[in-house]
Symmetry: C2
Subunit: 179 residues, 2 copies
DNA sequence: GTCTATAGTGGGATAGAC
DNA sequence: GTCTATCCCACTATAGAC
């Protein structure tokens, strides 16, 4: 079910990705600089380049880990009761709530797919595809809804008093009715 | 119907906002620096600060203009035929397609509402609220769907062959059925 | 594998003269 | 209202020594 991520080769490279991920999760994307990553490890920034080609590749490695973890969470929830669409949405929503900065990095920018661990994006997408009754158009629409709800909430775009549980439920009901 | 935006006081300040908006639309957000704005006007960057308090306020002014224009487009489309929800979605989608960088600035980040022209966000939101049958939860869910479709497309997140017209239609049908 | 030194680039913003 | 001069910040990345 869960796969062990085929993460970078050497222990040092792996450590860099781990440290960078933790820095991202605690401090946000703006804090994710090569200098700060190096600081946390106890080396100088230029030394990072012996282990990681450049920053884009490092971010791609973090994103790959994120997709693995999201896919793990999706697959672990298969056992849970209820409608598959609701279940998938619940996992999606709590993943984003638990890892807001990681979620943003994973979804709220253009993606350099060629730098990702191969297949990792598809694996996370498969759960939603199944939950949408293997209807690709419906799955994309439902993903757009889930991402929209998530990112608008993270960006504080809804009015202060908005009942987001209710909005989620209305949307999910809409998509369930189409399947 | 359309309101004239209560834009900045002096002609110079207004020109700065116009030039900045044009720079944003043609070159994207990364190109939107005080130096480049000044270049286009033919003055030096420090002189901008005589007319605009700082960059955040300038961006907020641009965003306000964006909301005015979106609201104008929504209201102008009231005359068009078809379901209000479809009509609103069509306008939303073409606004984003026509002004991708502006759309991103308006929606894909946290919003400093206190710097916006008062009421401008509500005015744009009202059309969707009406189209959703004055159901706030449904309107928020529909907005999330529309924003998700839009921003995921702008960020090239859908697979190469994806039929986005079909995905839009599936989502809109879902929301129509709930109203 | 790590270091120092540094290049190169860009950014926002202020002080004070005119 | 605009200018010059400048500060201060931060970043990615490379060269070359050890």
């Amino acid at each position: 079910m869960a796969t062990s991520a085929p993460e970078p080769r050497t222990p040092r490279a792996q450590q860099i990705v781990e440290v960078a991920l933790e820095l991202l999760e605690t401090q946000g994307h703006d804090a994710l600089s090569m200098r700060r990553i190096a600081d946390r490890i106890g080396i100088r920034a230029p030394s990072l380049y012996e282990h990681v080609p450049d920053k884009r590749a490092l971010e791609a490695a973090i994103i790959s880990v994120g997709f693995e973890r999201l896919a793990d969470a999706f697959e672990a929830a298969t056992a849970q009761p209820g409608d598959p669409l609701d279940r998938t949405a619940r996992v999606y929503r709590s993943f984003a709530a638990a890892h807001p900065h990681l979620y943003r990095l994973m979804t709220a920018r253009e993606l350099h797919r060629e730098l990702l661990t191969p297949g990792v994006e598809d694996r996370a997408g498969r759960t939603l595809y199944e939950a949408a009754g293997r209807d690709a158009d419906l799955a994309r629409a439902a993903w757009a809804f889930a991402h929209g709800m998530t990112i608008l909430e993270l960006d504080n775009r809804f009015p202060a008093g908005a009942d987001l549980d209710a909005a989620w439920e209305r949307g999910l009901a809409a998509f369930r009715s189409q399947r």
